[in-house]
């Protein structure tokens, strides 16, 4: 049995990074009908390019078509599905069953059921299997026991989230955006009202004031610790959330889970949970993360009360553009200087730690500080690093 690591990709660059760093498949939004209407998303040509890149490496591409349809969208959907089929994608991720029916009528696209249906039990999964869905993305509220029951009783691919931000509500059961900002959350307009602060009052109009304001906001999900359990249970696909995240975030999270999965599969008996990997994941996140519902935890420790403060991560220092004769060419992403403790990580080698050596620009001029966005610099490095490796502040 294979265990797929499924990564988000907001654009072609992130798709390539995700695959380069170890994703077995990526999910992307097309030009329409996805739940990230305000993200960049892919054009049809970009989808073709992404599929070509992925398939050349035996990886897969899934496209989200997971909005809740209104009448006006129905007219355009049929053509869109046919266009998608021509790109060679491996599946569409669908929430509205009307799209299942239309895709089956007009295309041979494989269909995955989106988490937006909040599928949490055996009979619901059985139903969708009978309708020709080949994979169900379970609701994020599913516990370990529920996932196990489904896997035991229904022979179908099961996909679960392992990492990233969580809806505070049952997916599909929140229209806060519709009411508070006139943006339709189930058609990709979610304005993340669940992260806003509110004032909480009792029924006598007494203000219930904590040290931080009331919010629905939850901590992020991280199931790194539970990966062996999840692999043993037979979950098909482990999904990382975050189509709007940076290449650094994607590279870090994907490579971390890749290592954990591979380490466990290589030798389950000797596998030990690697705290270093957890530290890397914590560092790249801008919010706390916990296992959430998987271990049935649903208490006050799952909430995130931080007044909307989300730390901007400055760890990412640059991406390696080229390596030739021991000279690294790097594109800067955050300020660094000669002598800083840094590390370079990549999908094909251990993480290397070193102090930033002497630097030059592309004309050979000496530099002490790299402060300009996307500035290109060069330095000598004794390690066998590769193109698309990333340099960050020392974490490990």
């Amino acid at each position: 049995m294979t265990h797929e690591l499924l990564a988000p990709a907001g654009d072609l660059e992130r798709l390539k990074v995700a695959i380069h760093y170890g994703a077995d498949a990526v999910y992307i939004g097309g030009p329409a009908f996805g739940l990230r209407a305000n993200a960049n998303n892919f054009t049809i040509d970009e989808i073709k390019e992404g599929v070509r890149f992925a398939h050349e490496r035996n990886k897969k591409v899934y496209v989200t078509v997971n909005i809740v349809l209104h009448q006006q969208e129905l007219q355009e959907l049929q053509n869109y599905l046919c266009e998608l089929e021509k790109t060679g994608i491996d599946a569409i991720i669908v929430s509205d069953p009307a799209i299942i029916e239309m895709a089956q009528k007009y295309t041979n696209l494989e269909i995955h059921l989106s988490t937006q249906q909040s599928t949490l039990n055996v009979p619901a999964v059985k139903f969708f299997k009978k309708q020709g869905v080949t994979r169900v993305v379970l609701g994020r509220e599913a516990t370990k026991e529920e996932i196990r029951a489904i896997l035991d009783e229904v022979d179908i691919e099961i996909e679960t989230f392992i990492h990233g931000a969580m809806c505070s509500s049952y997916s599909g059961r929140c229209v806060l955006s519709n009411f508070l900002t006139a943006r339709d959350s189930n058609r990709g307009g979610c304005s993340q009202i669940c992260r806003w602060d509110f004032d909480l009052y009792d029924d006598q109009n007494h203000f219930l004031e904590g040290e931080k304001p009331f919010t629905f906001c939850t901590k992020d999900l991280s199931l790194l610790k539970y990966l062996p359990d999840m692999i043993d249970m037979g979950i098909t696909s482990f999904k990382i959330e975050g189509r709007m995240r940076s290449i650094y975030y994607i590279a870090t999270v994907v490579s971390t889970y890749r290592k954990a999965i591979d380490n466990y599969l290589q030798n389950p008996k000797t596998y030990h949970y690697d705290q270093t990997l957890e530290r890397v994941l914590r560092r790249v996140a801008n919010r706390d993360s916990i296992p959430q519902f998987f271990n049935q935890k649903n208490d006050e420790e799952c909430q995130y009360y931080n007044g909307r403060v989300e730390l901007s991560n400055q760890d990412f220092l640059g991406v390696v553009l080229d390596v030739k004769d021991g000279i690294v060419t790097l594109e800067q992403r955050n300020y660094f200087k000669v002598g800083d403790e840094v590390e370079i990580f990549g999908p094909n080698h251990e993480t290397y730690h070193f102090k930033v050596p002497s630097l030059t620009d592309m004309e050979g001029n000496s530099l002490e500080i790299v402060r300009h966005p996307r500035q290109i610099v060069q330095f000598a490095c004794p390690y066998a690093i590769e193109k698309l490796d990333m340099m960050r502040k020392r974490i490990v």
């Binding site: 009979p123 059961r173 058609r187 029924d203």
Partner: protein
């Protein structure tokens, strides 16, 4: 007199006060229904139905079902077979599967709240036994007209009451109170933002947040009737009982000529009434 069947989601077990002003009731089933402040066991449903032979009864099992809910759900669906229940409101697709597996004869009411926004999906569920679809409150009157024109089944439209905006398994209020060591014995709380107040209920199955205003589509009732809508739903949730009865009486008085006046009479009783999304389109792409 304009006639369209009015279904009431009651907040009292004494339906006598309401029966004269409606055609039927939707009874939420204990432990399987959310967004009802009052729920009923199947024994209570059986008892109530006997007392009101001229009313139509639907039951509601509209929560997201977890594995542990399934034995009770199955039992309720089987018991419903023995009762003169017209239909079963559902959110979770386990209900559709059980209808097939157990060869149940009761009609279903597709009630996935915010997801019932087009006729194709109504028709999809129709082929699996959802004779009725309860439409989303976040669509426009024009969209309702289009759906009605093409839907194979019978449509239900919510016309009065607070609208659920957010449903979570999390105990969002309890968690906040506990985290910051605050105490409150209120059965209901309110959250406020930018001058608006939203009711929030944290109960056994999790938390639901409701709209700040009360939907009141009495003026649109004749249009709904003209286009062929057979059922409208009035939800008593969070409305004081005497005022809700008054609202029902006002709905009974409706004629073509007095609808504006009646809307304003209700508004005098409940100043935070509005027409929801009936004339307000939402956007989803801001660029």
């Amino acid at each position: 007199m304009i006639i369209v069947k009015k279904l009431v989601i009651p907040t009292t077990k004494d339906l006598k006060k309401l029966e004269s002003y409606c055609d039927g009731f939707i009874l939420g089933i204990t432990d399987l229904c959310i967004n009802c402040s009052l729920t009923f066991t199947m024994d209570e449903v059986k008892e109530i139905i006997q007392h009101y032979p001229n009313k139509e009864f639907f039951i509601s099992v509209n929560k997201n079902m977890h594995q542990q809910d399934l034995p009770h759900l199955k039992e309720v669906l089987l018991q419903a077979e023995q009762l003169p229940v017209k239909g079963i409101f559902y959110y979770d697709i386990s209900v559709v599967e059980y209808k097939q597996e157990l060869s149940l004869t009761k009609d279903l009411v597709w009630n996935q709240e915010h997801l019932a926004t087009n006729y194709s999906t109504c028709n999809y569920w129709y082929q699996f036994g959802a004779k009725y679809s309860c439409l989303s409150s976040e669509i426009t009157l024009e969209e309702i007209k289009t759906i009605q024109k093409h839907a194979k089944g019978i449509l239900m439209v919510p016309v009065f009451g607070y609208i659920p905006m957010f449903t979570s398994k999390r105990h969002v209020v309890k968690n906040y109170l506990k985290y910051f060591n605050l105490s409150s014995s209120s059965p209901i709380h309110y959250i406020k933002k930018e001058g608006f107040t939203y009711p929030i209920m944290d109960v056994q199955d999790g938390t639901t947040v409701y709209s700040s205003s009360i939907l009141n589509a009495i003026e649109e009732l004749d249009i709904l009737k003209q286009i062929g809508i057979e059922y409208v739903i009035l939800n008593a949730f969070l409305i004081p009982e005497d005022i809700f009865v008054e609202v029902l009486k006002i709905y009974e008085e409706l004629t073509e000529e007095n609808k504006k006046q009646l809307y304003h009479r209700i508004q005098q009783l409940l100043p935070n009434c509005d027409k929801g999304f009936l004339y307000k389109e939402t956007i989803y792409k801001v660029k």
